[in-house]
């Protein structure tokens, strides 16, 4: 199967790979997927007092499209409010990366990841 140039670009030069401290109150973590299904994404956002995402990091176990979806997502969420970030749709990611139908689930996973990260951050905020 041939990959799109956009997928190859993110795959070969993934942006924002890494890990923040889970326990930091500024950090929201979304971990989605399952090893048994062949992909697991961990997306983390660092949110400032104004609710703006200052930084994002990811690590992904999965195919090239899953890695590219999460790499792209970290670029997109930076500078957005958490509300805006939670609105990102998988179709936008799939379109930007020109994912074939068999890889759409990778973009769905990325959407789930950002939603989970925002939710985790909100939960921390309300628990604090």
């Amino acid at each position: 199967m041939a990959y799109s140039d956009q997928v190859m670009d993110h795959y070969q030069n993934p942006r924002n790979v890494g890990k923040f401290d889970d326990d930091d109150a500024q950090i929201g973590t979304g971990m989605v997927g399952a090893p048994a299904c062949g992909d697991v994404m961990r997306l983390q956002i660092k949110v400032n007092d104004l609710g703006i995402i200052e930084d994002a990091k990811f690590k992904t176990y999965g195919c090239g499209s899953a890695i590219a979806s999460s790499s792209l997502l970290t670029e997109w969420v930076k500078g957005r409010s958490i509300d805006e970030a939670a609105q990102i749709k998988n179709t936008e990611i799939a379109e930007e990366l020109a994912l074939p139908p068999v890889k759409i689930h990778c973009s769905v996973l990325a959407e789930d990841a950002i939603k989970a990260a925002v939710e985790d951050y909100r939960k921390k905020l309300s628990d604090a």
């Binding site: 795959y11 993934p14 790979v17 399952a34 048994a36 992904t60 176990y61 195919c63 090239g64």
Partner: protein
């Protein structure tokens, strides 16, 4: 981009130049182009002679009678002919078939088809070493069993089943035994004069012959009868009609001749290459061989790189032609059914690559592969949250994953 190095000899092999030469002599006006079934002129007689020589060469490799060789279009057709042919011919005696969960799709799908026609099929589980136990075959045989189909060498992991003992079990129970030998013929010795095997499927293109040709061995003593699946001019003693493709059969014959003449030296060389590859990788953390290496065909090794997903690993290896799972199933996103049948967890099954080396693989190729695989695995582990968790001592099985 320069062509990747070929590590997929189990999917197919290039045609040996000696084979291609013989084939090219059977195509054009000045060559041996006649129809082997033409009885009225020299063109037909010469083509028939070439086909019969090829048949003798195949028979010599397997140590059987040339009259026991039926030409087909490949191992898939041979498997179909053997399994459907026996099942249908002997359905008055019984409608039960035994096979294993790690057969090639040509066997599994044929069995599924027969199930829809009212046959019953038992699918034996391999051990975690990938092998089918003769005892398991023994205990699955019933009064109404007519056929056992257990492969010689598994195409994904390369393990070698004990077809000698399985054959003895079948013969004692008066059940026919079919062996898919696509991955073993020409690679390891097969002696049909002693093996209690009734049918055996071979493929030309796995042994440096052309694609589109194979054979089915059908034993004469004790006699095995088949219901033909292809009807027509009654070629191949009525078992498989269709004009014989002289150049293809001559190619397969020559491929068998070479395989037989060079088997021991080639097996030693291929084994050394495979061992070199494994030696170059096995000091990495969390890297496992799938299937028992002590019962293995020389050219194939299947390795799991834990915490790295197979498809992305292949994507990181653009200069290597390897496969994750078998080529026949890798269009799907499912992990290999063979590895799952070994009882391996899904992550490890998702993390596996099959490397297969052969006649034209060099030590330099292997060294290049080692360097590239190491680099790719390290890179992808840096990207892998599972690797992080492993390094942090988190038990992945303790986490409740949301399957999707």
């Amino acid at each position: 981009m320069k062509a990747p190095v070929y590590f997929d000899y189990a999917a197919t092999t290039p045609v040996d130049p000696r084979v291609a030469q013989k084939m090219s002599e059977c195509l054009m006006t000045e060559g041996n182009f006649g129809n082997p079934a033409s009885r009225s002129h020299k063109f037909g007689w010469e083509a028939e002679e070439a086909v019969e020589l090829a048949r003798t060469q195949v028979a010599a490799l397997l140590n059987c009678d040339p009259r026991e060789i039926v030409w087909t279009s490949g191992a898939t057709e041979s498997d179909n002919l053997a399994i459907k042919g026996i099942a249908q011919f002997y359905k008055g005696k019984g409608k039960h078939i035994i096979t294993s969960k790690i057969e090639h799709k040509a066997v599994l799908d044929t069995c599924r088809h027969l199930e829809r026609e009212g046959f019953e099929v038992t699918y034996l589980e391999p051990g975690s070493d990938g092998l089918i136990r003769p005892e398991a075959v023994q205990s699955a045989i019933r009064e109404d069993t007519t056929l056992v189909s257990i492969m010689h060498v598994n195409n994904e992991i390369g393990v070698v089943n004990d077809i000698e003992r399985i054959g003895e079990v079948c013969r004692a129970a008066k059940v026919f035994y079919h062996v898919d030998a696509a991955q073993s013929a020409g690679k390891i010795p097969i002696d049909l004069s002693t093996l209690k095997v009734d049918l055996m499927a071979l493929s030309g293109h796995k042994m440096y012959g052309p694609k589109g040709v194979g054979v089915l061995f059908v034993r004469r003593k004790p006699r095995v009868r088949l219901e033909a699946q292809m009807h027509g001019g009654g070629h191949e003693r009525g078992m498989r009609s269709g004009t014989l493709a002289t150049h293809q059969l001559v190619g397969m014959g020559e491929a068998c001749r070479i395989a037989q003449a060079e088997m021991s030296s080639e097996a030693a060389r291929t084994l050394a290459l495979r061992e070199r590859l494994w030696q170059g990788l096995n000091d990495m953390e969390e890297v496992y061989v799938n299937g028992d290496l002590n019962a293995h065909v020389p050219g194939i090794i299947n390795i799991s790189f834990n915490y790295v997903e197979g498809e992305s690993l292949i994507m990181s290896l653009p200069e290597l032609a390897v496969s994750s799972g078998s080529a026949c199933t890798s269009a799907s996103l499912e992990p290999s059914y063979v590895l799952r049948a070994l009882g391996m967890n899904d992550e490890l099954a998702h993390s596996s690559l099959r490397f297969s080396v052969g006649r034209f693989t060099t030590e330099e190729d292997v060294d290049a592969a080692i360097a590239q695989v190491r680099r790719a695995v390290e890179k992808l582990r840096e990207l892998s949250p599972l690797w992080d968790m492993y390094k942090d001592g988190v038990d992945l099985d303790s986490i409740e994953w949301a399957a999707h």
